[in-house]
């Protein structure tokens, strides 16, 4: 089992790289015939990745959420899975290259630094913690995809504004679709983060004796929840212009990244996984 896990750990970055390359080729070559093949390949990669996650969980007797490198493989998986669902339900393809690249980066980092942790605190084997972490990761994956579509929106917006009708103009879906994808991803991310926060607020005080409401990670998560909530609220109720929505979502994502780095590396928290 261990050797199979190690082999998959080595193979996954390559699988994501070829997937990224394949989507990139589809985007540049402007050949739609690769669309179906790429989707099938994406499904195969996701099944392999899922098998890898399950294998790790069984082998090490805990879900891979105990260290940064473990969480990164979950992020890589959830971003790719979210993209697959988005591609299927929105019927928009051709943007896979931009999303899969993120999965590839996270998986490379995970594969390089992941350790076979056999001994972990019992708390990490708790099912509620599993739901809390997975929903938080899926939520942040939603925010990531939202930001990527937001950036693509800005690129296309600029190209149309300056009448530059090149590859971006030809290959990306229209502005309204990009804005919609960005917004829907953010809404899904927001709902999943809400679930993670609710579970956290009820369960964390019970699980962690040193729980504090003033914990920096908790405060940052609440802040992220508030700023995304504001944009969603403003878009729904105040009819915020599309470009502003996208700019806010990108700014929110930048805040997520910066705050995560700051709280993970420069503050002490009970809410620590690595």
């Amino acid at each position: 089992m261990i050797s199979a896990i190690n082999s998959l750990n080595t193979a996954l970055p390559f699988l994501y790289f070829f997937l990224f390359f394949s989507y990139g080729y589809e985007f540049i070559s402007e050949e739609n015939k690769f669309r179906k093949a790429n989707r099938i390949y994406l499904i195969i990669v996701l099944i392999t990745h899922f098998f890898y996650i399950i294998s790790r969980t069984i082998e090490f007797n805990h879900p891979p959420i105990t260290a940064k490198a473990e969480i990164f493989t979950i992020i890589a998986f959830s971003v790719a899975l979210s993209y697959l669902l988005l591609e299927i339900f929105s019927k928009v393809s051709g943007t896979g290259v931009f999303i899969i690249f993120i999965s590839f980066l996270f998986q490379v980092f995970s594969s390089l630094f992941i350790e076979d942790l056999l001994e972990v605190p019992d708390i990490f084997r708790n099912k509620l913690l599993g739901i809390h972490v997975v929903s938080a990761i899926l939520g942040y994956s939603g925010f990531t995809i939202s930001a990527v579509y937001g950036i693509l929106y800005l690129m296309l917006y600029k190209d149309i504004k300056i009448s530059n009708f090149g590859l971006i103009f030809n290959r990306l879906p229209n502005l309204e679709t990009l804005e919609r994808l960005s917004f829907i991803s953010a809404v899904i991310g927001f709902m999943l983060l809400s679930l993670a926060i609710v579970i956290g607020l009820f369960w964390l005080p019970w699980a962690f004796p040193d729980f504090s409401i003033w914990d920096p990670k908790l405060l940052v998560s609440l802040l992220i929840w508030i700023i995304y909530g504001y944009v969603i609220f403003a878009k729904w109720f105040n009819d915020l212009p599309s470009k502003k929505v996208v700019l806010y979502l990108i700014a929110d994502f930048c805040f997520v990244i910066i705050s995560m780095i700051l709280t993970s590396f420069f503050t002490k928290s009970f809410h620590y996984f690595g």
Binding site: I160, K161, S163, F165, F169, P173, N174, P241, K243
Partner: protein, 428 residues
């Protein structure tokens, strides 16, 4: 393959000459009997705004390009047409040219979507007027096949190649639900009309038309199912439109930056796509700088057109391959044109002899014996013809030239007296 023909097209003649040479379908129907009497036994006349072409099988070996040219000169009563205005085609080059035309790669803009329909119509006219027989019918089928394969197997027809269609292409890159958008077309001339039709084809929710002359806007609105707005009032409703296409002959700007800014405030900055396809321009180009305004004029839209034409040209290699495949298939068919009837006639010749002999003894033998004799005769004919048939088939499938194939089959035809019958059979 004796196909002969001339083409007067956008490469060889200016528009005024092409206009003079244009033949309507009715005119082609009247022209065919004369052409059949003097020039071609069967053929086709293709006439569009960009070309007039006459191709066919000459009634005699003496028919030359000049005869075809003089015929068209006399028919259209045009004297200013010279040898320089014609392209000459014979045999394979003629077939290839017709395939190039039906594939749309001989058009002024590669991938012209109308040409295949025009070629189809030309062949139909020939067929309806008994001007097409075995050869032209096969040529027609293959030319249409080439055109269809070109559309389904290549991207030659993709992308906008007119300014008005390029404008619609840009609109499609901004909005997703076009059926929920409203568009205003300013002007009712040819360009505005084309744009309005493209918008209608794209299922734009509501189309409004405004023009200085109300009557013209009503005519265009009737054609496109649009609603007219009095020219004096359209600025009051500017904020209601997601798409504005302007194509008037106004000497100055109809819409200033300020007016558009004001309408954007009323629109609460919902994006608007402005296509100024007028020359001189109708809308201040400074509108380009306003947030959420996507402004394009003829120059910027021409970039799309040029880019699409460039892309289409890259597809020509694929189309050349399709044409080559169909040329080979057509050439093989032509080569078999003499051999297949020869095999058939040879078999008929032997069967006739067999039947004659069987009839002679029919009343002299019992019914059972007759059945046996009949079966034996069939077997005998089959065995006797096996080798000659195989030989003829191998000749038809060989890489020999048409002349060499004819030489090889000549001896069989000579021995059994099949000469003369074959050509008639081929054409019936």
């Amino acid at each position: 393959m004796d196909l002969l023909g001339i083409s007067i097209n956008h490469r060889t003649a200016d528009i005024s000459l092409r206009e003079k040479l244009f033949c309507s379908p009715e005119e082609i129907r009247n022209l065919i009997p004369e052409l059949k009497k003097n020039i071609f036994s069967e053929g086709v006349v293709i006439s569009t705004c960009n070309r007039t072409e006459i191709f066919g099988i000459p009634v005699s070996d003496n028919i030359s390009y000049s005869d075809i040219l003089n015929f068209i000169k006399d028919w259209k009563k045009i004297n200013d047409i010279t040898e320089k205005n014609i392209e000459r085609y014979f045999s394979c080059s003629a077939v290839k040219h017709i395939f190039n035309v039906s594939a749309g790669i001989d058009s002024m803009i590669p991938g012209d979507s109308q040409i295949l329909g025009q070629v189809k119509e030309a062949f139909t006219i020939s067929s309806d007027n008994n001007f097409s027989e075995l050869f032209i019918n096969r040529l027609s089928d293959t030319a249409i096949k080439v055109g269809k394969r070109t559309i389904s197997e290549t991207k030659i027809g993709e992308g906008a190649v007119t300014i008005s269609y390029a404008a619609v292409q840009v609109i499609g890159k901004i909005f997703s639900n076009l059926d929920k958008k409203s568009a205003l077309v300013i002007g009712a001339g040819q360009t505005a009309s084309l744009a309005a039709n493209h918008l209608k084809d794209k299922n734009i929710g509501k189309i409004f038309i405004t023009n200085r002359t109300l009557a013209n806007s009503i005519i265009l609105a009737d054609k496109t199912g649009a609603v007219t707005i009095p020219f004096e009032e359209f600025k009051l409703h500017l904020h209601k439109f997601d798409i504005i296409i302007s194509a008037t002959s106004s000497p100055g700007f109809l819409l200033s930056e300020k007016e558009i800014k004001e309408s954007m405030i009323k629109r609460r900055n919902n994006p608007v796509c402005i296509m100024d396809i007028a020359l001189p321009r109708d809308i201040s180009p400074e509108a380009r700088d306003i947030e959420y305004v996507f402004y394009n004029d003829i120059d910027s839209l021409k970039n799309i057109v040029d880019e699409n034409i460039k892309r289409r040209k890259t597809e020509i290699i694929k189309i050349d391959n399709i044409i080559m495949e169909e040329m080979i298939s057509f050439h093989n068919w032509c080569n078999n044109l003499n051999i297949v009837p020869a095999i058939k006639l040879l078999r008929e010749f032997f069967e006739d002899i067999g039947n004659d002999e069987l009839n002679k003894i029919k009343n002299k033998v019992t019914e059972d014996d007759y059945i046996k004799l009949e079966a034996m005769t069939k077997r005998l004919i089959g065995r006797l013809l096996h080798n000659p048939t195989m030989k003829l088939k191998s000749i038809s499938e060989s890489s020999l030239s048409e002349q060499e194939k004819l030489k090889e089959t000549a001896i069989i035809k000579e021995i059994f007296g099949l000469n003369g019958k074959i050509e008639n059979k081929a054409l019936n």
